[in-house]
Amino acid sequence: MTQTMTDIRHPAWHPIASSEDLPFRHVYHGQLLGQEFAVWRADDGNVNVWENRCLHRGVRLSIGLNEGAELKCQYHGWRYANRSAGCTYIPAHPADAPARRITNRTFPAVESLGLVWSAMGDVTPFAPPLPEGNWMPLRPLPVNARPGAVLAALTAAREAESDVESLPPLGARLVLTGVDGRAAVFFVQPVDSGRAVIRGVVEAESWDDQLSLLRLFNERLSTLRRQVEAEMALEEAPEPLVPVYEPVSLELATMPDLRFGRQAKLRVRVARKWQAGADVTGLELAALEGHLPTFQPGAHLDLFLPNGLIRQYSITNGPGELLSYTVGVKREPDSRGGSVAIADELREGDVVAISEPRNNFPLRRDATRTILIAGGIGITPLLAMAKTLASSRLPFELHVFARSPEHVAFPEALDKLGESVVPHIGLDPAGTAAEIEQLVSGYGFARHLYVCGPGPMLDLVRRRTAEAGWPEEAVHFEYFKNVNEIDLSSTFTVELARSALTLAIPSGKSILEVMRENGVDAPSSCEQGACGTCLTTVLEGIPDHQDVYLNDTERRSNSCMMTCVSRAKSDRLVLDI
């Protein structure tokens, strides 16, 4: 039952490691059919099998750092998320969220019989080649020989013909002489055309002394290896296999869909709905299958409600948590109906639509100290940031301002962050102002501050940090909503430089609306000047800023604007659209 080379290229599941090869915070170096793998177990137990190559400079990720929820390349520190292999952070661009398309190639991973199995190409779903049981993996034995020759040598080493049962692919249940006549099952992992690993399993319960059994098999297989390698030395070495580099998916290879206005791209199931705080509903939105797209701390999503409303919620997850997104919704009876619809109508088990995550509030990971200030439901993006900083053991403090202890949302998640969380409970405006003044009093080099909360609180933090000498670029803020009165009365002309289109903007309509009426789409999310999604480069003219996203320096620069609310002070604006 020798196998030819064409057989081993046939798509099939092969063992690529033992489960015990993936201890805590380790990266295993694997290979199947010429394709190298970086294999690592995240702290949540998930096994990742990735192409062994950083997308940046091609360095092997198997020498990278397993940080528990992200794998960090040893060379320039690019980080990739557990499950999706999407890039979450590029140290050379600390203030930017990496593009969604920077996603490494992943391979399937299944743990069964104490082994890790993977496959290349189109394979049928994994089915265990043996009944589940108390299988104990033997010491894997790499052999420098053709996989087919290794299997042939293994089956030739059997004691009795009747005991041999071949198992697909490259597997055999057989008895090896000198091992107490017990059956063992061996799989030959085709590493390359001239390299293989013998991976054996035996039923552990039937043996008293596991260690001497493991040694016995190891000796027996080592002898076999010597014979096979001696024979192979007489043959000409086969050409190494060239891994199949499949083209990346269309979604990752092409420019994003130009129609990326507010699109309900994803369907998720409400896996859990609970009281996450006195006036906060927690929602766990789970993937219908597989995992959800990569996000970075600070990211938000659009939730499309059954009543037609679209609302933005920050993702509170820690790094590498992609089976579901957890968001917090504050119940506001006087709102326009979004929070009430969620609190009263949405039920566990409902399927709802969301956008892909978008990050206009990215977290730097190069600060000497990070100060996070949360007011009320403003905790949500900062919770994701705190979890990320804690996971990398970066110094931070999370200040939580709330009306009462019961109003602190997500208390269980905050408990896990330990002493980095500082509650400020039940303060009046004067008390809050005094606390904030103290918090921002000590600006030091490379400190960064992130604040999310009600408008007056943000205004206060921005004022106080400016007075305390914080540079504007070190103070990052996210408003829930635009606190400005929008003045839509002006009329002006907008030239879209790249679209070669000139549009007249009448009073009462936004630039974004007029653009869409004329067939030019652009990304947007909140459409009220708070989230930053429609940020556009201004090439000429003076914008009339009405948003709460840009800081004062950005406003004064006249080089960017929010097309959903901002207008023009000059007669004409030229935009890079």
């Binding site: 380790h26 750092l65 960090k72 010491r139 894997p140 260690l211 493991l214």
Partner: protein
């Protein structure tokens, strides 16, 4: 005061920097231009070590050569725990010596391959590489069964010894000599453990490990 005659890219010099970093011993460095200057064969250096080999360590006038011998000296003189080179258990002491010898064999193969590729030395590359693979097969098997017996280090002790320090550098640098460690998963795990020893220091080509934290 200790003075180390050192070449930054030498694994055997790094061995001593690593040991002294772990033991918290302060030392001065005199750089010796091993490549391309061949300063280790210069008259002034030959007076220090007639073999013309790095490293040399001078402690208060005492001149020492041979990296394994110096490891023993440092451990016996500066390690207050007595664990890095224990002398009260003859079997353990002998076992450490066996791995010191093994370290020399790694130098003779893996380091020779690295010198050929990175510093234009004229060794038989194929022979050096296959010799290193033979050693690594032995070492991987040893470490795999050590893990099964609940041990993390090369010798039968619940703590690392100079044996681990002696074998670490040229194993960790083997890929610069074209010797992949893909087939030696137990060695790769042991390399992670060594890199997590408190006081560990890196060198060019030897990277730090991620933080090990207890899984909660």
């Amino acid at each position: 005061m200790i003075t180390l005659y050192d070449f930054e890219l030498s694994g055997n010099c790094y061995k001593l920097r690593l040991m002294m970093s772990i033991l918290g011993v302060r030392y001065d460095i005199v750089p010796v231009d091993f490549y391309p200057g061949r300063e280790h064969k210069s008259d002034w250096f030959l007076k220090l070590n007639p073999f013309g080999e790095l490293p040399v360590l001078v402690d208060d006038g005492l001149v020492l050569r041979d990296s394994q011998a110096i490891l023993v000296y440092l451990a016996r003189k500066y390690d207050t725990t007595g664990k890095w080179f224990p002398v009260d258990d003859p079997a353990l002491t002998a076992e450490i010596e066996i791995w010191h010898d093994f370290a020399n064999r790694i130098t003779g193969t893996a380091s020779a391959a690295r010198l050929t590729i990175t510093m234009n030395y004229d060794f038989d590359l194929e022979k050096a590489q296959s010799g290193a693979h033979q050693l690594f097969r032995t070492m991987d098997e040893h470490l795999w069964f050590a893990e099964r017996e609940g041990r993390e280090w090369l010798c039968k002790a619940d703590h690392p010894t100079t044996a681990d320090i002696a074998c670490f550098p040229y194993t960790a640098l083997s890929e610069e000599g074209g010797i992949s460690r893909q087939d030696y998963p137990a060695i790769r795990r042991w390399l992670d453990r060594v890199r997590r020893i408190e006081g560990f220091t890196a060198m060019s080509g030897v990277f730090p490990a991620s933080r090990a934290r207890e899984a909660s």
